[in-house]
C-alpha cells in the first residue's frame, strides 16, 4: 500500500468513526466532536510549524490559545457604557502609560547597540511603566469592577463582528511569542520550553485575575455568534420549509444546522492554513527551515541566521495557535479563564502532533482528529471499562465506587501512554514527514 493511499484510508477510518458516533449516539454529538476536531487540528498545525519545521518545543500552547480566546471576547462583546462613563479617563491614562512604555522600550531597543546597557535600560523602562501603571491605573480598575459587578464589572469589548477576532487573536499571540522568542531562542532548547511554560501560566493568571479586563473567573457569557441562533432559525420561514422538505424535526435540525455552519467556517480556516503551510513547506523557505532543523551547524556555516529563522517560525506557529484559540472561544460562546488547563491545551496538542506525524501537516490534522476523538470518547470508554472490571463487586463496594469515580483520570494516563508509545514505536507518526527528493 503506498503512502498516499494509506493516508486516505486513515482519514476514511476517521470519518467512519465519526459516522458511527452519529449513528450510535447522535449527530449533534458527532458534529460537536467534528468542530472541536477541526479546531484541534489547527492548533496542532500551529505546533507542527514550530516543532515539525524547526524542532522548537513550545510548552505554552495554552497561553497562546488563551490570548486568542481573550481576543474573541474583547472584539465581540459590546462595550459596557457605565464602566466607560466612570472610568473612561482613567483607562485612557492607563492605556497611554502602557503604550508609551512599550514605544519607549522598543525605541531604546532599536536605537542602542546590543549589550547589557540596552537590556538594563529596557528593563528599567518596563519597570517604571509598571509602577506608573499601578499608581495611576489601580484606582480605575477598582472603579470598573464596582460597576454592576454581578452582570458586568468590566470594560466590555469593541462590539465588532467576532470573526474579526480570529486574525486579531493570532496577532496578539504572535506579539507575545515574539517577545518570548527574542529572549530565549538561541539558547538551549530546554530554555524555550521552560520560558513558554512560564508565559502561558502568566497569561492564564492575567485572564483569571484581571477582572476589569476579562471578568476573571466570573466568565464572560453570551459572546455574539458568527452564525444564526437556533431560536431564530426555528422561526424562519425558509428554515421551516427546508426541514419540511428534508422531513426532519425542526428543533433538532436547527442545532445541527448551527453546528454545520460552524464546521463550514472552521473547515475553511483549516484548509486555508493547511494550504498556506503546505506552500510554505515546499518553498525554498521551508527547505531552509528543515535544513536548519536537521543540521544547525552546517546551516550556520552556510550563513543562515538560525536564531532569526527560529524566531520567525515560532511567531508564525503561535499566530496559528492564537487563531485556533479565538475560534474555540467563538464556538463555546463564552470566555472561561479557569478552563485553560495545561494538560488539555498544551500537552494534548503535543500528543496530536507526535501521534499524527511531526513535520507533516496532514499528519498534524489527522492527529488532531484522532486524539480529540479519543480524548472525548475515552471518558465513556473508561467508565464502561471500570463498570466491566468491577461488575463482580457489590454495588456499594468502596473500591468499586472509587474506581468508577476515578475513571475520568484514566484519560490523562491514557494520553501519556499514547504519547510514550507513539514516540517510541512510531516516532515519525501516522503520516510521516515526506523526505522528498523531487
Amino acid at each position: 500500500m503506498n503512502g498516499a493511499l494509506r493516508n486516505v484510508v486513515y482519514f476514511l477510518i476517521m470519518a467512519g468513526l465519526i459516522v458511527a458516533v452519529g449513528q450510535m449516539q447522535s449527530w449533534n454529538v458527532a458534529l460537536s466532536i467534528v468542530n472541536l476536531c477541526l479546531i484541534s487540528s489547527i492548533m496542532a498545525l500551529g505546533v507542527n510549524i514550530q516543532w515539525g519545521y524547526a524542532g522548537l518545543f513550545n510548552v505554552g500552547v495554552m497561553g497562546f490559545a488563551a490570548l486568542g480566546g481573550m481576543a474573541a471576547m474583547l472584539i465581540s462583546m459590546p462595550p459596557v457604557k457605565e464602566a466607560w462613563a466612570v472610568a473612561g479617563g482613567g483607562t485612557a491614562i492607563g492605556l497611554l502609560i502602557f503604550v508609551s512604555t512599550a514605544v519607549a522600550a522598543v525605541l531604546v531597543y532599536r536605537k542602542l547597540p546590543k549589550g547589557t546597557l540596552r537590556t538594563t535600560i529596557v528593563m528599567a523602562i518596563v519597570i517604571l511603566g509598571y509602577v506608573l501603571l499601578r499608581i495611576f491605573f489601580d484606582p480605575t480598575t477598582n472603579t470598573i469592577e464596582k460597576v454592576n459587578p454581578a452582570a458586568s464589572g468590566y470594560l466590555g469589548g469593541f462590539g465588532l463582528p467576532i470573526l474579526l477576532s480570529w486574525p486579531v487573536g493570532g496577532l496578539l499571540a504572535g506579539a507575545v511569542a515574539w517577545v518570548v522568542g527574542k529572549i530565549t531562542l538561541g539558547l538551549r532548547s530546554d530554555y524555550l520550553a521552560i520560558a513558554t511554560l512560564g508565559i502561558s501560566e502568566i497569561i492564564v493568571a492575567v485572564l483569571k485575575h484581571e477582572d476589569w479586563l476579562t471578568r476573571g473567573v466570573k466568565n464572560v457569557n453570551g459572546l455574539p455568534r458568527p452564525v444564526p441562533y437556533e431560536i431564530n432559525l426555528q422561526k424562519a420561514e425558509w428554515f421551516l420549509s427546508l426541514c419540511e422538505r428534508l422531513g426532519v424535526d425542526h428543533v433538532t435540525f436547527s442545532s445541527i444546522f448551527v453546528k454545520l455552519c460552524y464546521s463550514l467556517l472552521f473547515l475553511t480556516v483549516l484548509l486555508l492554513i493547511l494550504w498556506l503551510s503546505e506552500r510554505a513547506l515546499r518553498s525554498p523557505w521551508g527547505r531552509m527551515m528543515r535544513a536548519i532543523r536537521d543540521n544547525e551547524v552546517s546551516a550556520n556555516a552556510m550563513g543562515k541566521n538560525i536564531t532569526a529563522r527560529h524566531l520567525q517560525v515560532f511567531v508564525l506557529g503561535s499566530v496559528v495557535v492564537g487563531i485556533a484559540g479565538a475560534m474555540l472561544t467563538t464556538l463555546d460562546g463564552q470566555l472561561t479563564p479557569s478552563s485553560y488547563q495545561p494538560l488539555r491545551f498544551t500537552f494534548l496538542i503535543w500528543v496530536m502532533v507526535i501521534v499524527g506525524g511531526s513535520g507533516n501537516n496532514w499528519g498534524a490534522v489527522l492527529g488532531g482528529f484522532v486524539i480529540w476523538f479519543f480524548w472525548i470518547e475515552a471518558e465513556p470508554m473508561g467508565i464502561w471499562l471500570m463498570n466491566f472490571i468491577t461488575s463482580g463487586m457489590a454495588i456499594d463496594n468502596p473500591l468499586r465506587l472509587h474506581l468508577i469515580e476515578s475513571a475520568a483520570h484514566m484519560r490523562l494516563m491514557t494520553m501519556g501512554l499514547i504519547l510514550l508509545l507513539a514516540l517510541r514505536f512510531s516516532p515519525r507518526g501516522l503520516i510521516p514527514e515526506r523526505t522528498q527528493q523531487k
Binding site: 520550553a193 502568566i202 495545561p342 503535543w350 483520570h409 501519556g416
Partner: protein, 337 residues
C-alpha cells in the same frame, strides 16, 4: 510613630520565616532537576509530578501508620512514612527509566526527545496520582502545629507583632540541611558520588575510565526520586497536598535550577532561596510594615503590594528571563548555554 523592632518582627514573621521554608523546599526540588540535568542531560518535566507521586506515597503510608496507631508524638507521622515513600517512588522512577528513557539513551537521542518523553511520563504520573488519591487537597500534617506561637512570642518579648514558627517549617529547614549535607558528602567523598560527577563532566572519558553508566544513571534516579519525595512531603506538610499545585511548582523549581546554573548542585540551592525570597518579598503587602517604619502619623493607603499573590509565578518567570538575558549559565556557572 516609628517602631523598627515591631517592623522587623512583622517582616520576619511574614517574609523571612515562610521564605526560608519555601526556599528549602524549592532548593530540594531544584537539586533533583539539576542532578537529572547534569547526568542525563535533559530538563525533566515530570519532576513536579514525581514530587506529587512521592508525596502521595507518604500520605498513604501516613494513613496506614495512623490506622495502626503509630505516631511520632509531636512530630508528623509523615516523617516515619518518608523512607517507605522514597523507596516506592524510587522503584517507580527506575521503572520509568527502564521502560522509557533507557531506549533513548541507547539511541543517543536529542535532548528535546527526552524532554517530550518526560512530558509523557508526567501525564502518566499525574493520572496515577489523581486515580489513586484524587485531585483534591489532602492535609496529612499531624502532631504539634507550632514551635513558637505568635502569642507566646509577644508575651516573651512584649512586642505588638509576634513571630510564629510552624513545626513543619522547622522540620523543612532541618531536613533540608541534613539532606544537602548528606548529598554533598556523597558527591564529593564517595566513589560512586565522584563517578557521578565525572560522568556529568565528561561522559566519554568516564566510560574510558571504566565507570559503569548504568549504575550512575540508576543512582541518579534514586537520588532524584528521594529528593523529589522529600521536597514534596515537606511542601505538603507546610501547605497542603494538591496534585495540580505540584505541577505548577515546576516553574519555580526550573527557575531555581537555571538561576543557580543547571547541573550545579550548589547553584540549585542558591537558586531555590533566590526564587523563594523574591516571590515572597514581591508579593508581600507592606502596608503594616510601612506604618511601623515611617515616623509621624502618616498612614499608608492601599496594600502597598508590589504584585498580587495571584501572579507569584510571574516572579519566578521574570527572574528566569533576567538570568537568561544577563547570564544564561546562571549565577554559579552551570553546564553549557
Amino acid at each position: 510613630m516609628s517602631d523598627p523592632l515591631n517592623a522587623a518582627a512583622l517582616l520576619a514573621n511574614f517574609v523571612v520565616v515562610p521564605a526560608v521554608a519555601y526556599g528549602s523546599q524549592l532548593a530540594l526540588g531544584a537539586l533533583g532537576v539539576t542532578l537529572i540535568y547534569g547526568i542525563l542531560r535533559f530538563s525533566n518535566f515530570a519532576h513536579g509530578d514525581t514530587m506529587a507521586f512521592g508525596t502521595m506515597f507518604t500520605i498513604l503510608f501516613t494513613w496506614w501508620f495512623q490506622s495502626m496507631g503509630i505516631s511520632l508524638g509531636p512530630l508528623p507521622t509523615a516523617l516515619l512514612a518518608l523512607p517507605f515513600a522514597i523507596a516506592s517512588c524510587a522503584i517507580f522512577v527506575l521503572l520509568s527509566d527502564r521502560l522509557v528513557y533507557r531506549f533513548y539513551r541507547q539511541q543517543r537521542a536529542d535532548p528535546v526527545i527526552f524532554v517530550i518523553a518526560s512530558v509523557g511520563v508526567m501525564f502518566v504520573m499525574n493520572g496515577v496520582v489523581r486515580f489513586i488519591i484524587g485531585p483534591d487537597d489532602q492535609n496529612f500534617n499531624d502532631g504539634e502545629r507550632f514551635i513558637i506561637k505568635a502569642r507566646e512570642f509577644k508575651q516573651m518579648t512584649g512586642l505588638a507583632e509576634g513571630i510564629s514558627i510552624k513545626v513543619s517549617q522547622g522540620i523543612t529547614v532541618v531536613t533540608m540541611i541534613i539532606v544537602v549535607a548528606a548529598l554533598f558528602w556523597f558527591l564529593n567523598k564517595t566513589r560512586t558520588g565522584k563517578s557521578m560527577r565525572a560522568y556529568s563532566d565528561n561522559e566519554d572519558l568516564a566510560l574510558l575510565s571504566g565507570i559503569n553508566p548504568d549504575r550512575v544513571v540508576m543512582v541518579t534516579w534514586i537520588l532524584a526520586a528521594a529528593l523529589a519525595t522529600i521536597a514534596g512531603t515537606l511542601y505538603g506538610l507546610d501547605k497542603s497536598f494538591k496534585p495540580f499545585t505540584y505541577f505548577q511548582l515546576l516553574l519555580p523549581i526550573f527557575a531555581a535550577a537555571i538561576v543557580g546554573g543547571l547541573g550545579n548542585p550548589l547553584g540549585a540551592i542558591a537558586g531555590g532561596f533566590v526564587i523563594a525570597f523574591s516571590e515572597i518579598t514581591v508579593t508581600y503587602a507592606y502596608k503594616k510594615f510601612a506604618n511601623y517604619i515611617v515616623p509621624g502619623d502618616w498612614k499608608a493607603d492601599g496594600l502597598m503590594q508590589l504584585l498580587s499573590t495571584n501572579y507569584k509565578f510571574a516572579v519566578s518567570f521574570l527572574i528566569l528571563l533576567l538570568v537568561l538575558l544577563f547570564r544564561p549559565t546562571g549565577i554559579f556557572k552551570g553546564k553549557s548555554v
